[in-house]
Each structure stands twice: as structure tokens, then as C-alpha cells.
Point group: C2
Chain length 402, copies 2
């Protein structure tokens, strides 16, 4: 299942950062990059063709995620979706319900993607209380800590379904249950925001299955086009917009709809979710063999995040303390392997992984991460070759420094 043009010698192991565009998604986008260029808000035929396409895409996403179409909002991507979910919820409570910022508490973790961690940091800057629930050494939210942190002031809990660096899949059901119990206890509402950007190819994103009030997807991470995403919400939260204008998307997200983009994300999400289980099972087998081999072969290598079922099926993340893994990534790149050290969004600037620091409190480990995120096409032999190459690099570096 190799569906994009690639150099046969390259081994692409950075599916967490970017994915190829599904040919079916591209084909469906095509008419809207050609003759069907109308503005969906226009009343004439050209506009209505575009409107039908956008609403058809919304229905498609709604069916794939098992929600009503009116709860599906198209966004400009995962970062915008997370910002809108977090900021939009708080602003709506502030503006409509008159709640002061300092009277609201948001709980999150120290291992979130920057679009969540910096959006909550922004809330802190305007006076909202932001608290961090502890995660254990594998990255799981400590439910007992969460129970203690939750209070009458808590209005939002935000966590990634699957962590983008170490792949830990959070116990969203147990979290939801705990949030609901707390709501009953205090007679409050606590909205559950789940950044599911890494999930669609490997986990069920059916809305009820996840149990979120606000679920954020990013087309670019599940074989859709870049620059578009989806925010699905339950009946409960009201969202204030973060972009003001023409009132598109029920006033939640103004701006002329990216018609081709929303078609693309709809096709991608439907495809990703249709056979996520079989895809995940295959990837997990490949991943588990490769993880075992890496840990056996690379002296000093340790796994970051959990083993087994509660880890995103396509994610391997190891540390090799003492090794400069930024250089390792560049060295591997020159030998045909596309890998990363941490989140692409954290930039090429080096530095430690905040995620691995948070779970391990070990600077050497946080400075020596390597992430391999495989795709449906990754072969066991690709990962055996990777292991061989990495072994050569690590041995060389150790020889040089001893």
C-alpha cells in the first residue's frame, strides 16, 4: 500500500509529523481546484455547488465519527482547532456566562503538544488558573492526582488522545467517568478537550467512544491535505470564536470555506477510520518487532512511553543517553531514513524533549530522543536496516568519545 511517489531508497519514518495525501482525497478535491470555485456563501449556482460540497463533507465526517453534522466545524488545522477549543470555551464562559477568568480552572498535563500547552499558557496570562496533573513514567495521566486537582472551579480538562512524541494512549473513558462524577459532586460542568491529531489512522475516533466534549483532528496527520482540520463538539460546550468575520461555520469559525480542503479532510478521515483496527494491528506487529530489535541492538537505548496496546500502534520513541540524536537524525537522513527527535513543531533547534523530561525527570534521556513513526507501508526490513544504521552511528560516536 504505497500510494505516493517516493524514492524507493528512502524510508519515511515520520508519519507523526506529516502524511501523504490519500489519492482518493486528492481526486475528490480536484473539481474544487478547477471549475467549481464558487464561494459557498453566494446564492447563485456556483456558490450552491460549493455549499453542497462543504455540507456533504460535513455529513461525511459526521457519519465517520458518529455525530450530528451540526456539531462538526471545519478549521484551518489542528493548531487552530486546539486553540479554538481551549480559548473558545473559556471566552464563551467569560463573555456569555459572565464568569471571571480567575474564577476558572483549566487542568492539563506537561506532555501536551505546543498548540495545547501554549494555548493554556495564554489562558494563564489572562488570569485563568492552569493546573497540571501528573503523568507516570510511561506518560499516563495519574487518575488519583486528577481526582485531587478537580475542583468546583474546574471548567476544562485537556489531554491528547495519543501523545505525539511517545504515543501513550490515555484512558479517556476513565477520565471522562471521573470528570462526570466530579460534575455531579459539585453540580458544575467540566468540558473534556481531546487533541486527537495523532489518532485517526490507528484508533477509533467515534465521538462517543472517545467521550470528549471537544475533539480536534488535523487532516495533515491522517492523509488529508495540510491547512485544514475538524473540531467536533458535544451539545454541552458553547464556543466563542477566535476569528471574527463573515460568520461561517455557525459563527464559530469565520472565513471563506476552504472547499477543496474540507472535501479532502472528509475523505481522509472516513478512510482512516474505516479500517483503523486492521491497520493498527499490522503496524503494531511491525513496531513491536522493531522496538525489541532496537532495544537489544543499540547499547544504552531505553523506550520512552508504554509497551503494548496502550501505545499508538505506529510509534517508537527511544532515548540513547550520551548520544546527540539531532546529529543522529541528520546522519540517518543522509543514509535514507527520515526520522525525528521529537515533535516537528518544536522546530529544528535541538534542545530537550519536554515530554520525555516530564515523564522521566532525566535530562540526559530528554536530550537523546529519537522518534520513529511508521506508516501502513513500513516493512519490517526497513526497520531492521534502520537499526543496523543506528547501531553503526552509536558505536562510532561512543568510540570517538571514549
Amino acid at each position: 500500500m504505497i500510494f505516493w511517489e517516493k524514492e524507493t531508497k528512502r524510508v519515511y519514518l515520520d508519519w507523526a509529523a506529516a502524511t501523504p495525501l490519500l489519492p482518493e482525497a486528492k481526486a475528490a478535491m480536484e473539481p474544487f481546484l478547477k471549475g467549481d470555485f464558487g464561494n459557498p456563501s453566494a446564492i447563485h449556482k456556483e456558490g450552491q455547488v460549493a455549499r453542497l460540497a462543504v455540507e456533504g463533507a460535513r455529513d461525511f465526517v459526521a457519519r465517520a465519527l458518529q455525530v450530528r453534522p451540526e456539531f462538526v466545524t471545519f478549521t484551518g488545522g489542528g493548531t487552530e482547532g486546539n486553540n479554538l477549543a481551549i480559548k473558545g470555551t473559556i471566552e464563551a464562559l467569560h463573555q456569555a456566562a459572565g464568569r471571571s477568568y480567575s474564577d476558572m480552572e483549566v487542568i492539563t498535563t506537561k506532555i501536551e503538544h505546543s498548540s495545547v500547552s501554549l494555548a493554556t499558557e495564554h489562558l494563564r496570562s489572562i488570569g485563568v488558573q492552569v493546573r497540571y496533573v501528573g503523568v507516570d513514567e510511561e506518560g499516563f495521566v495519574k487518575l488519583s492526582d486528577l481526582r485531587e486537582l478537580l475542583s468546583e472551579k474546574t471548567v476544562l480538562f485537556s489531554v491528547a488522545y495519543a501523545n505525539n512524541e511517545i504515543g501513550v494512549v490515555q484512558p479517556v473513558h476513565q477520565i471522562k467517568k471521573l470528570l462526570r462524577q466530579t460534575e455531579e459532586r459539585f453540580n458544575t460542568q467540566i468540558f473534556f478537550h481531546v487533541d486527537a491529531a495523532q489518532a485517526p489512522l490507528w484508533l477509533s475516533c467515534q465521538f462517543e467512544t472517545v467521550g470528549a466534549d471537544l475533539l480536534v483532528l488535523d487532516a495533515a496527520k491522517c492523509c488529508g491535505p495540510k491547512g485544514v482540520g475538524v473540531l467536533v463538539r458535544s451539545r454541552r460546550p458553547v464556543l466563542a470564536p477566535i476569528l471574527f468575520g463573515g460568520g461561517q461555520e455557525q459563527g464559530i469559525r469565520s472565513g471563506t470555506e476552504n472547499v477543496a480542503g474540507v472535501i479532502g479532510v472528509a475523505i481522509a478521515i472516513e478512510w482512516a477510520q474505516t479500517n483503523w483496527r486492521a491497520r493498527a494491528e499490522l503496524a503494531r506487529a511491525v513496531r513491536d518487532e522493531a522496538t525489541r530489535l532496537l532495544l537489544e541492538t543499540i547499547p544504552g537505548a531505553v523506550l520512552n512511553g508504554p509497551h503494548g496496546e496502550d501505545r499508538l500502534a505506529n510509534n517508537i520513541n527511544i532515548s540513547i543517553p550520551g548520544i546527540n540524536t539531532e546529529y543522529a537524525a541528520v546522519w540517518l537522513d543522509a543514509r535514507g531514513f527520515a526520522v525525528s527527535t521529537k515533535s516537528a513543531c518544536a522546530g529544528a533547534g535541538g534542545g530537550e524533549s519536554a515530554v520525555v523530561k516530564a515523564i522521566s525527570n532525566d535530562a540526559a534521556r530528554a536530550h537523546s530522543t529519537l522518534r520513529f513513526t511508521i506508516g501502513p507501508d513500513t516493512k519490517p526490513s526497513d526497520l531492521r536496516k534502520l537499526t543496523e544504521a543506528l547501531k553503526i552511528y552509536v558505536t562510532k560516536m561512543r568510540d570517538l568519545t571514549q
Copy 2:
């Protein structure tokens, strides 16, 4: 110059709402919708190919608009660009310079696009003083009014280069001069934000020519793809982000870059600006003939906005008091003409044109607008046929109601 597939019988007269995608832009986007799917922030080859594309696109835009590439920020479209320019400027002054909201004044007009008017309305809701400079009966900013309104507290003046409904082209040079004089008088800084979404096909958008501190373009309005835009800034304003995350675009606009989209907008802007003058001259001739014919033929029709050079070359906007022009637009659509009554962003909900209300203070006129925005391919015969059809409609309606 018909470069998109269309039904030959359709006459598309809504270029202000949406434009076809330039084939050259589509072709340049193609590789990034296929094999070159890397994340520009990744350090490996796939990432660097995408990075080079994004920075190449930035250079391309910079050359077309005659600015340095570091002052070009890619956005998710015109609405986001306007929001970022307005909110970002005020937030930066508030956060970095410690200026209180109530100590800042923003001046704009009553005829701006909703992405400007509602962004400034949002500023008002957080305590910023928002003042409206008067416009004359053709829509031009009253410079004497502006001179009186400008104060020591003024930090931002926002106006569209060319109005999206009535096409009035503002005297940006004179405005800039006045703002600079005021800065000297008070020893302050007044940032000049220009929404140029409607401009690239018909006016020079060279940065120095416009004279703005913040210039906003939208790909979808100049034959680029939907969902992407450009914000160009001078050395003077600092912008606080409105989306928090990975720190892309110098931290001004987080989110994985829409690589294909930025390539598309770059090609579109370069093409639009390369021969805007010749394109505008041809369109103006077609437009002027059609305007004359419409005003002669349609009983009671009046032109909204100015005649001549200071009107966007492709814009005709008339009112036919007493006629329900929403119905007229639908009737014309059924006969092959795609027209609008006002801004598409204002939605299909009917109601008056706030722009025409502001210039005329005439409710009947504001409720009976029709906008025809032509393209480089619009033929004089198309507009003659339109005039004939509209005459039939108006005559019928007048007969029915008399």
C-alpha cells in the same frame, strides 16, 4: 482568457466573492499534493524539500510586493489576516508595551468587511476605544474628519484599499501622509492596516505604493487557492499571535504550513501583480460601458460608489429602490447570471447592505443593491445580456406591484 472549465452559457459576475484557481498555481501546487508531503519543520530531506518550497514561495511574494521576505507571513486567509493584523497589533502593545486597552484608540470606517468590522468590534468589547471616520456619499474616507479624530491615543487606522461591495479605492497615500504627520505632532506611532483582499488583480499592491504597515491579501480573491493568505508588515509593528503553538512563521502564526497553499498564493499574487494595469484598463472599459447601459436601461437604478479611476476596475454596484434584489439575483441565476447583492460573507440571509446604508443613509437604496464584479474574461456582450435580463425582471416586478 478563459482558463477554467465552465458552462458556456453561464456568465460569472461574482469575482469579488470567489475567483478560479490559476492553472499555473494549481500546477505548482501539484507536487505538494502528491509525493512532496513533508512537514517543513522536520530536519530530514522530506521536511527540507517542503521548507525550501515555503521559503521559495515567501521570496516570490516578497519580490512581487517589493518587500523583504522576513516581513511576509502566510495565513489561513483574508479573515485570519485581518484579525491577526488588528488583534495582533493591539495585543502586542498591551502585552509587550504594557499599554492598557482603554488607553488605545482604533479608527476605522463603517464600510469595512466583516473581518475588519467585527475584529474592531471585538477590540471594543475588551475596552479599546473604537472610532469611526466618516465616508462621503461615494465611500471615500473624509480626510478632514480623520484629521480631527486622530489623537495621541490613536494606535491603528484600518481601511480597505478597495471596498468589497462598492469598489471605492481609498486615497491611501494621503491617508498615510496624514497618519505620519499626526505621529510627528504627537510623537506617537499609528499603524496603518490595509485590507487589500480585493486589490491584487486590479491595483498595484507593491508595499511602498500602498504605504501600509500591515497589508492583508487573500489567495481566494486573486486566483489562488482558498484557505490561504498573506500578511505583509513594515518594520514598525510588532504582532502578538492569535494562534499559539509550534511557533511557525516567526511565531506569528503557528500551525503546520499549508505547503501547497502557500505555493499557490505565491504564484497567484505574482501573476495578478505582473500585469494588473493592462488587466484593469481592459476591465474598466468593459465596466464603464456596462455601467452606462445599466443606468440608462434600468428605471430607477443608481450607482453606489464612485465613477471612474478611483473605483476598482471590475466593480459595478447599483441599487434599484423598490425592487427585491435578493429575488432578482436568484432570478438572474436561473437565467445563467451569477451575481450578488452584497458581500458573500454577509450570507444569503438578505437584509440591507451596511456599506450602502453608510454612504447613502437611505434604507430603500441599501435594501436593493446588486453587485456585478467582472473578471478578465467578461465580455461586453455578457453584460448587455445581463442588462436585458435585469430590465425584464424589473419591468415585471414594477407591473406586478403597481
